[in-house]
Amino acid sequence: MAKARVLIRPKEGILDPQGKAVERALPALGFEGVEHVRVGRMVELEAEDPAQLGELCEKLLANPLIEDYEIQQL
């Protein structure tokens, strides 16, 4: 089994209100100078055939219309 990690994030240019909320909260805690926060999700999995991962991302893990994904083989 091959271990992999898939990172999914909102596409560039799409408003990410979660990222904005985190970004606005940081100065209140004293963290200045942090910008362009984007919140996505991470999926860890083990696959018999890592060649399937691209199609699996396109069809289920990400919605290509609104999200980008990145597959990391571990």
């Binding site: 909102p10 799409i14 408003l15 209100p17 979660q18 909320a21 289920l60 893990l61 919605n63 219309l65 609104i66």
Partner: protein
């Protein structure tokens, strides 16, 4: 007409949709998500709720259910399909409708009465909306295309777009016009007791589409 209203684990508005179709003069029955046989039905509703817990993305898991495979074939044959709220999200995820629904711009779950404008007629409908992920989004070129082809069915009236939807879009159809999805809930606006019967107009519109 006999309508089938899908029922997923996590659906919550299917009974109101059945009730709405009965009030609109049709018959309706529930269709469990594991059913594949839609024979005998003249139309299908994909109802609101939180199918499969909305895990991953709203509607992402429901699209792979046996009933949704049957709905895709039903829609391809020209059968009328109405998706409400979570049902709209499911139809977008399934590729039966263009675009996607994202988290509301202000991150709040919004639950209130909204005013919709019906494209074409300009009719103004007062219908409740309740969702956390209702921000309609599509690339600009696709939005231009939808407008040019008359696929925008409903827009939020001025001051009623509380989720940040692109171009105030509240509902769209597929190119053929037999699949319609919208975020607000017409099935909750069918009885004078709850303040508005404008939702009936949406069900009557769908009943006007024959398979």
């Amino acid at each position: 007409m006999i309508w089938g209203v899908l029922q997923f684990p996590g659906s919550c508005d299917e009974r109101d949709a059945v009730h709405a179709y009965r009030l609109a003069g049709g018959e309706a029955r529930l269709v469990w998500h594991e059913e594949r046989d839609l024979r005998g039905l003249d139309g299908v509703v994909v109802p609101g709720g939180f199918s499969y817990g909305d895990y991953l993305r709203a509607g992402a898991i429901a699209r792979f259910s046996p009933a949704m495979e049957a709905v895709a074939a039903f829609a391809a044959a020209g059968g009328p399909v109405l998706g409400i709220c979570n049902g709209f999200q499911v139809l977008c995820e399934a590729g039966l409708l263009p675009g996607a629904l994202l988290r509301n711009a202000e991150l709040r779950f919004r639950c209130h009465q909204v005013e919709l404008i019906e494209e074409g007629t300009g009719a103004r409908l007062s219908i409740p909306a309740k969702h956390g992920e209702g921000r309609y989004n599509a690339p600009n070129e696709l939005l231009d295309q939808l407008e040019a082809k008359g696929q925008v069915a409903y827009r939020y009236a001025d001051g009623h777009n509380s989720n940040g939807s692109a171009r105030d879009i509240a509902g769209v159809t597929n190119e053929r016009g037999n699949v319609l999805g919208l975020m607000p809930h017409p099935e909750h606006a069918v009885d004078p007791l709850t303040g508005s019967t404008d939702g009936l107009r949406v069900f009557e519109r769908m009943s006007g589409i024959l398979a």
